[in-house]
């Protein structure tokens, strides 16, 4: 006798919880061949608003945590992701070997960024020589709440944009890849079980064109990463909206992007503010 199939319900990830979309909508996700895979929640602007509130709420705690602690948690995410290797490989819509290689690359990417947590300040900060009796120190601080539009690569692309943003102490709202959001929600389950405080990463699935402008215009979002936006008009509109409160903007990366390449530091440093302190020398 065959078992009844237990299908997974893909929901959103907001504030550490997995709610359905406030709008009650969903959309069908298909494989590259057009086969039905699952229904994913189709987030509305109100879900985006709730996600920003959750991210803002999580910001003081996460940015106030020690860099060492953030690194440990990111490493823990990598550990938990490793444990879900087989499941995630099945959700990527790739051949088995290729999918496993992609998950491995995502795990490695997390480990790589985890290592940067307590080093970025040393590399990106400086002790400035000044003409006066002062210590003059510049140190990087997180920008705040970052809205991200994840690229098409369902897992490696997502990890490659989320990890650099949160490792430095930002919190984020990420719009998952529109055609292949399933891995993003499974990744959210990994995050939820990795000691990452609720609200540090919030994952929305749905229409990029519907969600991105609201996040770009939101006055409580401090930076915008348009990496995954493929429509030039939408990107332009988002950049214009983002000017409303002078958000830092990372512009779209043209597809196909090679996410396996060495990421460099840009994705971390773009979402940092430099704080410079003048401290009188003791006599």
């Amino acid at each position: 006798m065959s078992r009844l199939a237990v299908r997974k319900t893909y929901k959103l990830f907001i504030g550490g919880a997995f709610p359905r979309s406030e709008s009650g909508r969903s959309y069908a996700v298909t494989s590259p061949d057009g086969d039905f895979l699952a229904n994913a929640a189709r987030a509305s602007r109100k879900d985006a608003r709730d996600a920003v509130v959750a991210a803002r709420k999580a910001f003081p705690g996460w940015s106030g945590a020690t860099a060492y602690n953030r690194g440990q948690i990111l490493y823990r995410v990598a550990e938990m992701l490793e444990g879900r290797r087989a499941q995630l490989a099945g959700e990527l819509g790739l051949g088995r070997a290729e999918a496993l290689a992609s998950v491995d690359a995502a795990v490695d990417r997390l480990v790589w960024y985890a290592g940067w947590s307590d080093k970025i300040a040393a590399v990106h900060g400086t002790a400035n020589p000044v003409a006066g009796p002062y210590f003059n120190l510049s140190s990087p601080e997180p920008t705040g709440v970052v809205a991200l539009v994840a690229p098409a690569d369902p897992l490696l692309g997502l990890v490659s944009v989320v990890a650099p943003v949160i490792v430095t102490g930002n919190t984020c709202v990420v719009v998952a890849s529109e055609p292949s959001p399933l891995a993003a929600i499974t990744f959210a389950e990994v995050l939820a079980t990795s000691d990452l405080p609720g609200g540090v990463v919030n994952v929305l699935t749905g229409r990029q064109a519907e969600l991105a402008p609201w996040l770009a215009a939101h006055m409580d979002v401090n930076a915008l990463d348009l990496t995954g936006v493929t429509d030039a008009d939408l990107a332009l509109r988002c950049e214009q909206e983002a000017a409303g409160n002078l958000k830092r903007v990372l512009r779209p990366v043209p597809e196909p992007a090679d996410w396996t390449a060495d990421p460099g530091l840009t994705r971390m440093t773009r979402f940092l503010e430099t704080k410079t302190v003048w401290h009188p020398l003791g006599v």
Binding site: R49, V52, W214, A217, H218, M219, D220, V221, E241, G244
Partner: protein, 309 residues
């Protein structure tokens, strides 16, 4: 049916008989009705009007031990001009010693100055001290006095003591309006909320107010519903209209609009003005202003662009 309530407070026994003769509150029914009214959807232009009405009903409050003259002055500036073309709020609410600062800061604007008195928030002092506290605030220029009832006496059934205290404080108020705080979070049952509402109204309250804001739960929707029913029934019975002020725990625009729906559906449109309904709050105003900004600009507002309270 305007029957005389003149003799109700003739003695402790008659007062007790009257209050215990009030119909009991159906707890489940009250909770469900409040929850049902809370699901009303108020959108677009109606929402814009509701937000402006709610702003005009706010009693902008700061009741902290750490209050300074500067903080009160800053709050008063915001009360008079909340920003973005929003209407002024109804009143500011401060401790008695800060009343002169508030009076000076809101002078000529139409914003009222309310002061808590009578050993706020616990009310644990002698009647003389409570009356003196009230007289001090009134002499300093307060337009409205927010007094607390003696919950200990109320819960032990000494209704006459509570009644006489309210009467004495009312006398000390002179021209000032008297709001009586029932502190419903300490009254335990909805029946007690109804009794305390009637008791306060019989004793001459101009307003009945849910809470001090120092006890949780504060202004829940069912409690406000019961108090609105009480003022409605009291007016039917005596012809005198009494206002209602939920205070404490109302932080979002959604909460405020739910309260407005409750007023409309329970007491009626007569109460939908700042003269008869107030919202005691501090952080609520910023949320109302942010929602107002969202409706005006079409983009979600952020707290960075509004003053801290």
């Amino acid at each position: 049916m305007t029957t005389s309530l003149a003799d109700v407070a003739a003695s402790g026994a008659t007062l007790r008989a009257f209050l215990h003769g009030l119909p009991g509150v159906d707890r489940v029914g009250a909770d469900q009705r409040a929850a049902m009214l809370g699901t009303r959807s108020i959108k677009t232009t109606a929402k814009a009007r509701a937000i402006d009405l709610a702003i005009s009903m706010v009693d902008l409050t700061t009741l902290e031990g750490a209050d300074t003259r500067g903080k009160v002055r800053a709050m008063c500036v915001k009360a008079v001009r909340p920003g973005g073309g929003a209407p002024r709020v109804a009143a500011v609410c401060v401790y008695p010693d800060l009343v002169p600062v508030a009076v000076e800061a809101v002078a000529g604007s139409g914003v009222k100055v309310a002061s808590v008195a009578t050993a706020f928030p616990s009310g644990r002092s002698s009647l003389d001290v409570k009356v003196a506290d009230t007289a001090f605030a009134v002499a300093a220029g307060a337009d409205e006095i927010d007094m607390v009832i003696d919950r200990g006496a109320f819960l032990s059934g000494d209704y006459l003591k509570v009644y006489e205290e309210i009467v004495a404080v009312k006398a000390a108020c002179g021209e000032a309006h008297l709001k009586v705080i029932l502190e419903t979070g300490e009254l335990v049952t909805y029946d007690n909320v109804r009794r305390a509402s009637w008791l306060a109204m019989l004793a001459g309250a101009d307003f009945i107010k849910t809470s001090t804001g120092k006890v949780s739960p504060a202004a829940t929707l069912p409690v406000t519903l019961i108090m609105l029913e009480a003022v409605r029934d009291f007016r039917d019975r005596t012809g005198r209209q009494v206002g209602v002020k939920p205070a404490g725990g109302i932080r979002t625009t959604k909460d405020a609009i739910k309260n407005l729906v409750l007023v409309q559906e329970t007491a009626g449109a007569d109460w939908l003005t700042p003269d008869w309904f107030r919202l005691g709050a501090s952080s609520l105003l910023n949320d109302l202003l942010m929602q107002r900004e969202k409706l005006a600009t079409g983009r979600y507002a952020g707290p960075d662009y509004f003053t801290l309270d």
